[in-house]
Symmetry: C2
Subunit: 457 residues, 2 copies
């Protein structure tokens, strides 16, 4: 049992697809936010499920940790090699294996990105809706139970993964789920692996639900004087049953960031960005009903775009919000929060957070997928400024407490990684121990992404 | 460790809410279909979570099996006391605890039935959509991952349970999930308990998603000359993205059963029964588009009902289909099959099944939730006629093989119980062992509904 022996065996098996180069270790030791540099001992680039299973068996025989890697866009240091080991980079397993148009599903490899998938689907009249902004991999998205702007209509990865192929910590390969739309055949293992952040097994294949490209699409932005009015608009829209495809909130600071980063000309006020999908008549009806709600809440400056290029520009701007916000403070890094509450508490949650950040010495634009009750503050800190990081963490801590106090969750979509581990007990109580029991049953040696998700030991 | 000691302790705790009366044991040893009489040693009627936890601790201390019981309507002998023990009947835990109208969710006890829930919700403008026909309990429905006529639009119990309270096999009480609409905080334990058929713990509270009562509803029945034309209509409707709230298939034999049982006047042909929900304009658009698809496929005798009483009569008739079919052969009992396939294989699956049953000596009307690719044959056998039961089982076996061959599942909604255990390995392969690992981790003494769901030993 030794790490060097494992690396030798892996090298023999993979040739130059096992990398120990500085640039590879650097790349896989970095993260998108404020976590420290934590590189693995090596990076493996498998091309088949069989190779993944072999890698896992070799690492298991030598007690070497295994960390999955999709695109490294996760925000809580999920894929950092806390205890070293081998990072499995899925970038060479990035093919669409089969599009089943009639059944509206697709079989893909885990390293495929959502943008590449949708590019391949364009001619089929179908699309994959889950949309975390970043061009993440589908295996990574399944592993963090990702969602994004369209979850309010199309659901999260929980709702859009039909079946998986998984390599378990002992090298067994299993298939969970089928291509049938529903099943009552036993424990929902698909659901168990979705959101497990690579701590129970490595996903080597996914079967995903697809949706029909809508006949008509219409998008709009409108401004409000007060956050409360924007959020009330969201709540009323939901309660009226208007089926928004997207309904996003950005605060005044984020609007300012857009103006600077994307040369937008938004008033520096809170905004909603919405999109409707449906038949031409349906979209017309929805936009009209929504317009009424906006007007009642004092919204203004309504801009509709039904031209694809305008809509693309709008959502590209939204998807770059993180980088736009980083641009507000050149050289800064960010702590990105992710609270999610029942919709009735959303206005209060956003207002309290806004007020709290207003007292702080650091900027923190707020934006979010408010149709799900989910929003983020992007807390901008100077790298290596311990006082600022402490201040950001204190703000984030109060957001977490607020989420739990309001009956919500500490993370709506980003996941646990390193950043939220300390909140698992508070959110789940004894249920956290049940997660530990499951982890120990499937991964008794703690080989898979060790130090994450469950209680230590 | 003895069963008599456990029963004494439970009797002291529960008084006459621990029953060993013949009528109670009889009731809880029976099932809706063809499985033998398998009574428990006693039936407990707890009133609080605390009592459930105490019962579990007493039974655990004495190694006595525990079987949950909602309304006993499951179709695969799920709640039968294979190894005796104590049946926990949740009928006294049947309250609505809290309606959160703004958040469109509700907190309920497990013994509440879906009809009682919807009665209590009527004035709120909200409803709970999952609809297995039978007036099942919500705890039972969660435990079997039930669905029904509306799953095509509103999803199954998997999609509509937000959070649970569960008493584990060692008496610990946990809460899974929150009232937030989505979360990435750890393993999806809610999803793990949904569909676990009482083998991992007892559900003592559920938080359920609600939906707005639609502004407009319209329902219709129409007849087809051939099964294939009816099923093609379903496939095309789905591919056009017409958002049906219900789309049900019944074959000629079922139509005949309706005529006899519910004094209907349906031609003895295959039929589709559909319902649309939405705004007035939306429903009008959907019905028109659907009408076009029906006409293209040669459907006829279109009857629309937008009056609530006509719609109620229609769906009551559909919900009584099982009893109507039993009426086709007075004195018969039934084996109810439950295959579910990708929609592209549905026509083939129904036709093959129809042809197979046509060769058999027993009747087997076919009907199903075809929008999900899910259908049932109700195989009618004389009680105690071993040859007929063997013939029914052989037909059912071939349906299961067909489902798996076509990339589907052996049970779309009814679950495993006693009837499908022998197919778990075939459907899941090595993943079935993973279910066993989870079971052993949470219930090492195999106290919860023993003999079900996982491999014996
Ligand atoms: C600008 C920006 C915006 C974002 N917006 C959103 C958003 O709106 N919603 C949202 O949900 N997220 C968002 N994110 C976060 C991120 O995109 C998601 O968490 C995404 O799911 C990560 O995918 P990835 O491929 O980058 O995974 P990685 O970061 O590579 O890995 C994530 C986790 O999954 C594991 N993993 C990866 N692949 C596998 C596999 N095949 N098998 C098993 N485990 C695996 C890793 O070990 C790690 O624990 C955003 C990120 C950025 C940078
Ligand atoms: C006429 C008819 C039509 C039907 N149509 C459908 C249909 O369309 N779709 C469908 O899905 N089903 C259908 N069913 C089957 C049945 O209604 C469902 O399986 C339902 O979910 C069972 O609920 P129940 O309350 O009767 O549960 P039970 O039969 O009492 O129990 C079912 C299982 O759940 C366990 N259980 C019950 N309560 C709890 C609890 N609180 N905690 C833990 N475990 C518990 C039991 O031990 C058992 O294993 C139909 C049945 C009939 C008779």
């Amino acid at each position: 049992m030794s790490k060097p022996d494992a690396l030798t065996a892996l090298g023999e098996m993979l040739g130059d697809r096992l990398s120990r180069s500085k640039s590879d270790l650097d790349l896989h030791g970095r993260n998108e936010t404020y976590f420290p540099f934590l590189p693995p001992d090596a990076v493996a680039y498998p091309e088949t499920t069989d190779e993944v299973a072999q890698i896992v068996r070799i690492c298991a025989a030598h007690g070497v940790p295994l960390i999955g890697w999709g695109r490294g866009t996760s925000l809580e240091g999920h894929a950092l090699a806390l205890q070293g080991g081998v990072t499995i980079d899925f970038s060479r397993m990035n093919r669409v294996l089969k599009v089943n148009s009639e059944d509206m599903d697709v079989v893909v490899q885990p390293g495929l990105t959502r943008e590449d998938l949708n590019r391949e689907l364009r001619a089929t009249g179908l699309f994959f809706p889950v949309d975390p902004g970043a061009n993440a991999s589908l295996g990574g998205m399944a592993s963090t139970r990702a969602s994004g702007t369209t979850a309010v209509r199309y659901g999260t990865m929980r709702d859009n993964v039909l079946a998986l192929e998984v390599v378990l910590p002992d090298g067994r390969v299993i298939r969970t789920g089928t291509r049938a739309r529903k099943s009552s055949a036993g424990y929902d293992l698909t659901g168990l692996f979705v959101g497990s952040e690579g701590t129970l097994g490595l996903i080597t294949e996914l079967t995903l639900r697809l949706h029909g490209q809508p006949e008509a699409i219409s998008a709009a932005v409108c401004a409000f004087d007060e956050i409360g009015a924007a959020v009330d608009t969201v709540i009323q829209t939901i309660q009226l049953g208007i089926p928004m495809a997207r309904i996003e909130f950005v605060d005044a600071a984020t609007a300012a960031a857009f103006n600077a980063y994307a040369s937008a000309d938004m008033p520096e006020k809170p905004h909603l960005m919405v999109e409707f999908h449906g038949s031409a008549a349906g979209v017309a009806e929805q936009t009209e009903s929504f317009g009424e709600v906006v007007a009642e809440n004092g919204g203004e400056g309504f801009k509709w775009s039904s031209r694809p290029e305008d809509r693309n520009a709008l959502w590209t701007m939204r998807h770059n919000a993180y980088y736009a916000c980083l641009g507000l403070r050149p050289g800064a890094t960010a702590l990105v929060t992710d609270m999610c509450v029942p919709i009735s508490r959303l206005a209060e949650a956003v207002e309290e957070t806004r007020a709290d950040i207003a007292q702080a010495s650091i900027p923190g634009p707020i934006l979010g997928h408010v149709g799900d009750g989910n929003f983020h503050a992007i807390l901008l800190v100077e790298p290596d400024n311990a006082a600022e990081l402490a201040e950001a963490k204190a703000l984030a801590h109060r957001m977490v407490e607020r989420a739990l106090r309001m009956g919500g969750t500490v993370t709506g979509e980003h996941g646990i990684g390193m950043g939220k581990l300390d909140y698992m007990e508070e959110e789940h109580g004894a249920a956290w121990d049940v997660m530990g029991q499951i982890k120990r049953a499937l991964d008794p040696m703690t080989l898979m992404n060790p130090g994450k998700m469950v209680r230590a030991n």
